[in-house]
């Protein structure tokens, strides 16, 4: 291929791929130059060879539609894990605040009141729970 034709080579590829319009100049050159005309013809032949890959890869035979379900399941699992981590973070934050407050109160000399409070909760909670159970039984008509 001559130097003159070489400059058309790139244009012919662009034309072949629909990225460039066939200009009058190239058209005239193709009519006069067998080499360039056969280059373009060669590209067309390559196209039919390349289509072999499409016929070889018969996607319908190897298609696995469960992949989409698996993808959704993977995302759900990730989201659940994220949520669980988020819940744990909230729990730890609240626990940290309570412990810090308790320590602060103890440090300030209110430790004894904290013990009273804890004892009260310790004894009152079961009594309160009994009340809740009774109320529920009453509601359910037992």
């Amino acid at each position: 291929m001559s130097e003159c034709c070489k400059k058309y080579e790139a244009d012919l590829i662009d034309i072949y791929y629909g990225e460039l319009e066939m200009s009058d100049e190239i058209k005239t050159h193709l009519e006069e130059c067998d080499l360039c005309a056969s280059y373009l013809k060669g590209l067309e032949e390559v196209k039919s060879d390349l289509s072999l890959l499409d016929s070889d890869i018969n996607i319908d035979n190897i298609v696995d539609e469960t992949l989409i379900r698996k993808a959704f399941a993977a995302v759900d699992k990730k989201t659940e894990k994220k949520n669980r981590f988020f819940d744990l973070a909230i729990f730890l934050s609240i626990a940290a605040v309570i412990i810090a407050a308790a320590l602060m109160l103890a440090y300030k000399g209110y430790g004894i009141y904290l013990i009273y409070f804890q004892a009260a909760v310790f004894f009152l909670a079961p009594i309160g729970l009994l009340g809740v159970i009774k109320m529920r039984q009453f509601k359910e008509g037992v």
């Binding site: 790139a10 590829i13 662009d14 072949y16 791929y17 629909g18 990225e19 060669g42 590209l43 032949e45 390559v46 196209k47 060879d49 390349l50 072999l52 890959l53 499409d54 016929s55 070889d56 890869i57 018969n58 996607i59 035979n61 190897i62 298609v63 696995d64 539609e65 992949l67 989409i68 698996k70 993808a71 959704f72 993977a74 995302v75 990730k78």
Partner: protein, 178 residues
């Protein structure tokens, strides 16, 4: 339902619509990754990863391109990452997929030979060039679209495609496989 309607529903959290969209575009993504990797298992893994990424990021899809193009873009990035992680070898898929033999055995043998040459030729083209080439040749994306998908300049896309087609042309016309 139209793609645009499905997209609106999918973005507002409708799982069924998103599933339909993914199902409609599944074969395009799988076929693309299969041509790119020449390996069924790699293509399957990356397709699932692509779908997972799409499910997670559907709200970020702005609709500037077709949904299939967006998926192809995700798949291209994942393929690039996979290559970086480990250089997956290109395997010949001849063993796994049966070519329709048809009636003419001689023709089938010739086709098989040509196919083997084609796969070898494709496999020696560097991945980033092959990506651009496959998007152009098999999916008819414009140079601009490919540049957006592969995140590189249009000039680079053009030269990658030119390199690939010239190489393939030479090899398929009986030239040397360097």
């Amino acid at each position: 339902m139209l793609e645009a309607e499905l997209l609106v529903a999918a973005k507002s959290g409708d799982r069924k619509s998103l599933e339909t969209l993914l199902m409609d575009n599944y074969k395009i993504v799988f076929g693309y990754l299969l041509k790119l990797s020449m390996n069924e298992d790699t293509a399957r893994d990356l397709t699932q990863e692509t779908m997972t990424k799409a499910i997670v990021n559907i709200k970020n899809f702005k609709g500037e391109s077709k949904f299939a193009t967006w998926l192809i873009s995700i798949a291209s990035n994942l393929f690039k990452d996979a290559l970086k992680k480990k250089s997956r070898t290109l395997e010949n898929i001849d063993e796994k997929i049966d070519l329709d033999a048809g009636e003419d055995v001689e023709q089938t043998i010739l086709t098989r030979e040509k196919l083997a040459i084609l796969k070898n030729a494709l496999s020696i083209i560097p991945e980033e060039m092959r990506q651009a080439f496959i998007l152009k040749h098999y999916y008819n994306y414009s140079y601009e679209e490919i540049a957006l998908i592969l995140k590189c300049p249009v000039g680079t896309v053009r030269s990658r495609i030119h390199y690939s087609i010239k190489k393939l042309k030479t090899v398929l016309e009986g030239g040397a496989l360097e």
